[in-house]
């Protein structure tokens, strides 16, 4: 059985990480390439640097372990662990989103995207722009039109 086999992942900046195969295949991308036999050894992971890859591996390990645990790790504990996991700076958070997307790890993608959504909840448009350094590219007329629609047109 392939469950206790180890694989090596190579980050974009050349660092290797040895992990259990069961952890690595949390990523559908990696799982597919192993099954197709097209993955070399070590498996290259372009676009994801070592710092982010380390975090991703940490996430996958934790989730694989808690699924296996005999006494069914409390859902609440896992939720709390996840909440702690995403307490990182914004740049890291966005990198995690991109990595989860590329590596196709649905639960991590959902978690990180929801975290960003929660971050901007309740903020005014200007606050949202400031938080993420976005430029307001509406013309004054367009902005007025959108505002009017928001207030009067629909819900």
């Amino acid at each position: 059985m392939a469950t206790s086999r180890k694989v090596t992942l190579l980050s974009s900046d050349g660092e290797s990480f040895e992990v259990e195969q069961s952890v690595a295949v949390e990523s559908i991308t990696i799982k597919d390439s192993i099954e197709e036999g097209s993955a070399g050894n070590p498996i290259p992971v372009p676009k994801v640097n070592s710092k982010i890859l380390a975090k991703v591996i940490e996430y996958c390990k934790k989730h694989v372990e808690s699924a296996k645990a005999e006494d069914r790790v409390d859902d609440e504990d896992l939720v709390a662990w996840d909440a702690d996991f995403v307490k990182v700076d914004q740049a890291t958070l966005f990198d995690l989103i991109r990595a989860a997307n590329f590596l196709n790890i649905k639960s991590l993608l959902d978690l990180t995207c929801q975290t960003v959504a929660d971050m901007i909840k309740g903020k005014t448009p200007e606050e949202k722009r400031k938080t993420f350094t976005i430029r307001n590219d509406f013309t004054p007329e367009e902005e007025e039109e959108v505002r009017r629609e928001n207030q009067w047109a629909f819900e």
């Binding site: 991109r98 959504a117 448009p125 590219d137 928001n150 047109a153 629909f154």
Partner: protein, 635 residues
């Protein structure tokens, strides 16, 4: 760089989907053009408030699957015709027909192909011509709601029958529809799964029979208040997939008809036969025996007597979740039989003669999973019963004790100690309740709806206890609670920020100071404040300026409110669109009314005014109100 924009569009869509509130999504679309586009491509449901925006909104939201026009006044055949032409007609509406933000070349009719659900309830301006146009244009439409379009008849039904893919049709209160119209729908919409025809009084056995013959996929059927007979039940019995059947108020049905049902509809799970005076325990026994998987049974106000044999049958219904036998006579042995149904979560025993402490104690000893219990008007129960209920049913979320006047603060102590999941409590007319009781009750932190109408023994102090701890309160009824005054409102305004519905009618100690406190409740949506004669224009202004979401207001008999308050209401209350009851406001002049009505008429749907005003209000105001779809009721 930590820039949100550096994420690809599909990732931004995921983040956008994580925003649950309408406010957040509206704020998102104001951020920048890209975000606006993401909202436009992802938003799937729209409830339009003003018809002037309709065309540009539909052009901008091509991926809509649900469109709700029920609160949009002035939807008529003309509006539909304009909506469905592919070229813009800017002169039809004062605003530009297409927004500068939508890219050129986008097909303004793309929305018709994506739409699955259309809500047109109360769109009384729409006729069969417009209805047919929109049904034909939206070829993939699956669900239509035209309820409360009281003028709708067979021609409109024929228009609906053009929707071959329709699975769900809601036509409650379409008073003109007859068997002929229903037949057309049955023939044209063979895939129907859910049909609601409440109050369509012209429909009878013939139409129902044809419906059951042609629409064999029916899962949900509501024929409440129709003059259908046992013959209809014979036809309904043949439906192989029916799961939910509602026959409220069908007085021509009796036990013979129920026997047809007993032998048919193998998948029946929910049946509502309340207010059917022709049926008895026998009929219900045949239904129960034929359907072991029954989940909900409602026979409120239909049975005079709930026999023990009937209640014993329920033991075999392993999935029985909810049962309502309000109005029936029940005996203690009947309660014992019911206690064997341990799967029960909801029991309705309102106005049940014979409901005693002993019976209830027997009941809850078995039904420990109860969450909802209705004991309205069970006059003979006392604190002892409440003790048994709270102790056994720790998961209780809703308890109705209206008119149970022997209940005292002890009962509230028990509830506050054992039933900490309690969300809804009705203590209307419970004369034995006092402030101490409310203090005990405040331990129920999940409380969201509390009815204390007609309880003269409670005061600001008691309400203060509730307000300080029960932060989830959304609805409070204090009708005729004479002990309530401004201090209670102060407590509510600081503790219960989520308050949406409040009834203060006849709490005459309330003054302008109290109104000011109410102005701090931003979520307040429905307020009844009849006969608060200590409230003047000043108070009303404070209320109107603060409660921006106010939609329903009843201020009958507030005799000291004058023009200034009224104008404030008209100016500030931008959402006052559902209903405004403005009778007997003696100090408001005719001019005051006219000004307010002129400002509000775009929004208000129903206004109730003193009959004497009918002749004083200029005809021009009345006509315009009428043409804008606002109904005036004269008192």
């Amino acid at each position: 760089m930590a820039s949100l924009e550096s994420l690809t569009e599909d990732l931004l869509v995921r983040i956008y989907k994580g925003l649950a509130s309408d406010g957040d999504r509206k704020s998102w679309r104001l951020v920048c053009r890209d975000f606006h586009r993401i909202d436009a491509l992802t938003r799937s449901s729209l409830r339009v408030l003003r018809v002037e925006f309709l065309r540009s909104l539909l052009a901008n939201y091509p991926r809509l699957d649900t469109l709700d026009l029920s609160v949009c006044p002035r939807i008529d055949d003309g509006a539909v015709a304009v909506l469905l032409t592919s070229r813009g007609s800017p002169w039809a509406f004062p605003r530009a027909a297409s927004s500068s933000l939508s890219p050129p070349g986008r097909d303004p009719l793309a929305w018709t192909r994506g739409l699955r659900k259309l809500v047109l309830s109360r769109s009384t301006g729409l006729g069969h011509h417009g209805l047919e146009q929109v049904i034909r244009a939206c070829a993939y439409l699956e669900s239509v709601d035209v309820s409360h379009c009281c003028g709708f008849g067979d021609r409109e039904a024929a228009a609906l029958s053009c929707g071959a893919r329709l699975r769900e049709v809601k036509m409650d209160k379409c008073l003109g529809v007859t068997d002929v119209g229903l037949a057309k729908i049955a023939v044209g919409c063979g895939r129907l799964e859910k049909v609601s025809l409440k109050w369509c009084m012209e429909i009878g056995d013939l139409g129902v029979d044809l419906l059951c013959n042609k629409c064999v996929d029916l899962k949900f059927l509501d024929l409440s208040y129709l003059k259908v007979t046992n013959d209809s039940l014979r036809s309904i019995g043949s439906l192989p997939k029916l799961e939910v059947l509602a026959l409220v108020g069908c007085s021509l049905i009796d036990d013979t008809g129920l026997q047809f049902l007993g032998g048919g509809c193998p998948l029946l799970r929910v049946i509502d036969m309340s207010r059917c005076n022709g049926i008895s325990s026998c009929g219900l026994i045949s239904v129960a025996k034929g359907h072991e998987d029954l989940v909900q049974l409602n026979a409120s106000y239909s049975l005079t007597e709930c026999s023990s044999i009937l209640l014993r049958c329920f033991k075999d219904l392993k999935n029985l979740n909810a049962i309502k036998i309000d109005g029936a006579r029940v005996s203690d042995s009947a309660f014992k039989a019911l206690s064997n149904c341990t799967s029960l979560v909801e029991i309705g025993l309102g106005k049940c003669i014979g409901a005693t402490n002993l019976g209830l104690m027997r009941l809850v000893s078995g039904c420990v999973n109860l969450r909802v219990l209705d004991l309205t008007c069970c006059h003979s129960i006392t604190d002892a019963a409440i003790f048994a209920i709270s102790d056994s049913c720790r998961n209780l979320t809703c308890l109705k004790l209206e008119s149970c006047n022997m209940i005292t603060e002890k009962s509230l102590y028990y509830l506050g100690s054992f039933c900490l999941l309690l969300e809804e409590l009705d203590l209307t007319d419970c004369g034995g309740i006092n402030d101490t009781g409310l203090e005990y009750l405040s331990n129920c932190l999940e409380l969201s709806c509390l009815k204390l109408a007609l309880c003269p023994t409670i005061s600001d102090k008691g309400l203060g206890h509730i307000a300080s701890k029960c932060r989830k309160i959304c609805e409070i009824d204090l009708y005729r609670c004479n002990g309530i005054g401004d201090d209670a409102l102060a407590a509510l305004s600081s503790g219960c920020k989520k308050l949406r519905r409040l009834n203060l009618s006849y709490c005459s100690d309330v003054t302008d100071r109290g109104m000011e406190y109410l102005g701090q409740l931003e979520e307040l949506w429905d307020l009844e404040m009849r006969s608060l004669f200590n409230v003047t224009g000043v108070g009303l202004m404070a209320l109107a300026a603060g409660c921006k979401r106010l939609a329903d207001l009843d201020m009958k008999y507030c005799e000291n409110v004058d023009d200034s308050g009224f104008w404030a209401l008209a100016y500030y209350a931008r959402n006052l669109r559902q209903e405004a009851k403005l009778v007997h406001l003696n100090k408001v002049t005719v001019e005051g009314f006219e000004l307010a009505l002129r400002t509000c008429w775009v929004r208000i749907k129903k206004v109730k005014l003193l009959a004497a005003l009918r002749f004083k209000l200029s005809s021009d105001v009345r006509e315009t109100l009428h043409s804008r779809g606002c109904k005036i009721r004269w008192d």
